[in-house]
């Protein structure tokens, strides 16, 4: 095995210094500006993120015709909503939503890398990028979901979607029971990135 005794003890400090040096050199050489990295990060805090996906799901929960359109033609349904510009932007050029239903649970994976619908979900959480999740979810999804605290009975059909080409996927979880009186804005806060990738379900607060 390569470098079996060569794992740096100062792993994080070294990586931090290396990345800072790289960024400084790229600024100095005129490749990026001293604002470029922060520009990217600001964008993900304000424009692209799971807050968009939560709005889409909440609308699907209150409007079943919208939900049908969302599953049939995801980009045009998303375009109906007043979301920030860029929902068909980087990593959202071609998106498809799949809806959970009684007896059907969807799970999104990417066994080759970490494909993820940035405009509606932002950046993938660590668990999604982890090789263990990527490999195990393909063969034993229920066992993996159980480790996330979600028990899916054998009678429920699990659909696992491996994002191996250019389509980016997300899940419309089922509306939790007991939320009948909630407004769309109140429903949004019940929608987590984990539920929109399928390792969790939405729960009433």
């Amino acid at each position: 095995m390569a470098d079996q005794f060569n794992y740096r003890e100062d792993r994080e400090a070294y990586s931090a210094a290396r990345v800072r040096a790289l960024e400084a050199l790229l600024i100095k050489k005129g490749i990026i500006t001293d604002r470029s990295v922060d520009t990217v990060l600001d964008y993900f805090e304000t424009k692209m993120g799971p807050f968009n996906g939560a709005k889409i799901v909440a609308r699907a929960w209150v409007d079943s015709a919208f939900k049908e359109r969302l599953v049939a033609d995801t980009p045009s349904a998303i375009a109906e909503l007043a979301l920030p510009e860029g929902m068909a932007g980087a990593e959202g050029e071609h998106m498809r939503a799949v809806a959970n239903a009684p007896g059907v649970h969807n799970l999104i994976i990417c066994t080759l890398c970490s494909c993820y619908p940035w405009p509606v979900l932002g950046l993938p959480p660590y668990w999604y990028k982890d090789p263990t999740f990527r490999s195990r979810a393909a063969r034993e999804p229920r066992a993996v979901l159980k480790e996330f605290g979600l028990a899916v009975p054998e009678s429920t059909r699990v659909k696992v979607w491996d994002s191996s080409a250019q389509i980016r996927w997300f899940v419309v979880p089922e509306r939790p029971a007991g939320t009948e009186g909630l407004s769309e804005a109140e429903l949004e806060v019940l929608v987590t990135p984990e539920a929109m990738i399928g390792v969790a379900v939405a729960r009433a607060a």
Binding site: R20, L22, I27, S36, A88, Y126, D130, R139, S164, Q166
Partner: protein, 245 residues
């Protein structure tokens, strides 16, 4: 073959990570930002020219090739963004933007004193292009005039193409048979030419459904299905169907 391309279904890995944060260490944000800025400044995009001195192509494919070029045992030893540092640094060095010696020297300086400030420089139009890329993306979809060889419900066999650097064909699906679930309109390119692996030029893409029992006989959970979006080059009519024809 590379183990990296055959991850799906690998056994004996232990419990999954349930870490929900996107970035765990602050430096991970910075390398992510550098990668995204590079994608936005890459020359294949039809976005306005800027004074940035970045004059080459950088896409997801380049990042993936970098990570997948690692010794497979290192690939699994390093954390996600650790793999990015190596791939991105090597790219800038091999394309002559920076030298390894200056990166090593500056790393040493920041290691000794992390509070040493970064340089201040740059033109706002560079960052405007970065935002424009995030808003517009880089669609791989091409013309709609195409004859699709397969229709919804058709049985298809997955090929075992000779993958070299990079592929979009998950290893566990090779030589398996599935059923076309969706025929996507138009054609799709890929970000680079994968050589003998066979993708790059625009071609149809299909969503194909697989029964896990046929992928991992006797060793898959019951009552689930696996779906994968596959480029046309990766699939063919099953041998049985060819014989019958």
């Amino acid at each position: 073959m590379k183990l990296q391309h055959y991850l799906g279904g690998l056994e004996g890995l232990g419990p999954v990570s349930t870490e929900t944060r996107v970035f765990v260490e602050p430096w991970e944000k910075r390398i992510f930002g550098i990668h995204t800025a590079m994608m936005a400044l890459s020359t294949q995009l039809s976005l306005p020219a800027t004074p940035s001195s970045f004059r080459t192509v950088w896409t997801w494919a380049d990042l993936r090739k970098g990570a997948e070029s690692l010794n497979p045992l290192d690939y699994f030893r390093f954390r996600y963004y650790e793999k990015w540092i190596g791939g991105i640094s090597s790219y800038f060095i091999s394309h002559g933007y920076i030298t390894e010696a200056e990166l090593d020297a500056l790393t040493k300086e920041y290691y000794a004193d992390f509070s040493k400030p970064r340089p201040s420089a740059g033109c706002a139009v560079v960052d405007a292009r970065i935002v424009q890329y995030l808003v517009e993306g880089d669609s791989p979809k091409r013309g709609a005039a195409v004859n699709h060889a397969f229709a919804v419900g058709d049985a298809v066999a997955v090929c075992d193409v000779p993958t070299v650097e990079h592929t979009r064909l998950p290893g566990y699906l090779r030589n398996r048979t599935g059923t076309v679930e969706t025929v996507y309109e138009g054609t799709y390119t890929y970000l680079c030419n994968t050589g003998p692996d066979g993708i790059g030029a625009a071609m149809p893409v299909y969503c194909v459904r697989f029964d896990p029992v046929t992928i991992w006989p006797g060793n898959a959970e019951p009552n689930f299905a696996i779906y994968a979006d596959l480029y046309a080059h990766y699939i063919a009519a099953p041998a049985a169907a060819q014989q019958a024809a």
